[in-house]
Amino acid sequence: MKKQLALVIDLDVCVGCHACVTSCKEWNDQGAAGPLTDQRPYGKDPTGTFFNRVQTFEVGKYPQTQTVHFPKSCLHCEEPPCVPVCPTGASYKRKDDGIVLVDYDKCIGCGYCAWACPYGARELDESQKVMKKCTLCVDRIYDEKLPERDRKPACVLACPTNARLFGDIYDPTSEAAVAIKERGGYELMPEWQTRPAQKYLPRK
């Protein structure tokens, strides 16, 4: 049976605290994915590379408005448009678990995969000059030295409201698949047929 690991984001409970952003940065700044560099972090115009961002949108017309906190990272598409365009094969989708990864040793930093991603999920690391993106913490979810409850992406473990679910969306019994089914999990920009594995749970 095929496997497709993914996150499911519950927009109903995300409070926009950015704990997932900082824990992602903390974990992925070192280890297999690191470094994840910043430029001028204490300067006038700080910038840096992140795998995950939390954005905020206002939906509706005042006073009938909702503030939607919207975590955004690589959606690990089932038809990832960023993979076939890569000239070196550095951008690839793993057959065994569906994670889309970049081989930093093969990447030439041409930026073409970022152009080919409609979601803006990829960021070129300005110091390393290679493309970076969410790895679903591939270097911790399979790490048998960690206790089993910790074998989840860092963002999932950090979330105080359980707005981030993680699992195999092809396994109908997984927490992620159940949430998608029961709560009407939807895809971002379905108009491009990228079939994002990551789904969002709507506001109730």
């Binding site: 910038t47 992140f50 503030t67 076939p84 030439i108 920009m189 108009e191 491009w192």
Partner: protein
Amino acid sequence: MRPAWSIIVFTTLAGAGQGLFLALFAADLAGRAARHFLFIGSALAALLCLAGLASSFFHLGRPSRSWRSAAMWRTSWLSREVIVLPAFIAVVGTYSAAQLFSLHDWARALGWAAVLLCVALFVCTAMIYACLKFLQEWHSPLTFINFFALGCASGATAAAALAAELQPALLPACTALALALGLIGFLLRAGTFVRNARLHPKSTTQSAIGAHNPRVRQISQGQMGGSYNTREFFHGRSAATVSAVRVAFLVLGFPLPAVLLYAGQPAIAFVVQYAGLLAERWLFFADARHPQNLYYQAVA
């Protein structure tokens, strides 16, 4: 999209080189071209493409790894371009040598091979952009048609400039060709401006975040200092600047070079037209609206 100067210079130089070779080979087939005109002209065509290739390296974060980029030719148009461009340069260079040594049969065979590679190169370069379906400004046969037509126009003007120096008897024919191709390319590109201005983006802020309410407004993009997403996908210029660049193309792309060609100044016409094509390629990027920009509409 942010216009990338390395790619603007690369595609315009290579387009001129490709167009120049096609014009020269047409003259060769017509049996009217002198040997030294073909030899020097095709060497220059190869040099233009070589200069373009050199410029393309400046687009890479890790140019020392560029040798890897031929690997994925089965799926990637960029990879195919990386293979076809050096092959075209090599065959045109060999064609030039065959002309130098008067190896007519060889030159003819190499010339036809170069024509095939030349068209393949135009296809590869254009498809790099045209295959990205959500960049609706690029996802059109017009991307290929414009690259091809404008490259041929620029090359024909270069051929006229060369003819003026090397074989003045060919100048009227080359000038007529440059005027005709220039007009066609200019009209097609102007038509593309109209097409792009009328496009309706398929993606909206609603589809980007999955909200059905017609009123969605971004309050924060999750960062204050900008990121790759805000640098790479926005040209960051005012509407007035974009309009000025468009006027520059509409003047320098054909009308002014046409006057210069008519006045018998093909070399100056080539330089002026090249400047116009730089403006054109800048607009090619600046006019393209990437759907990821929907996520970066407000800082905070």
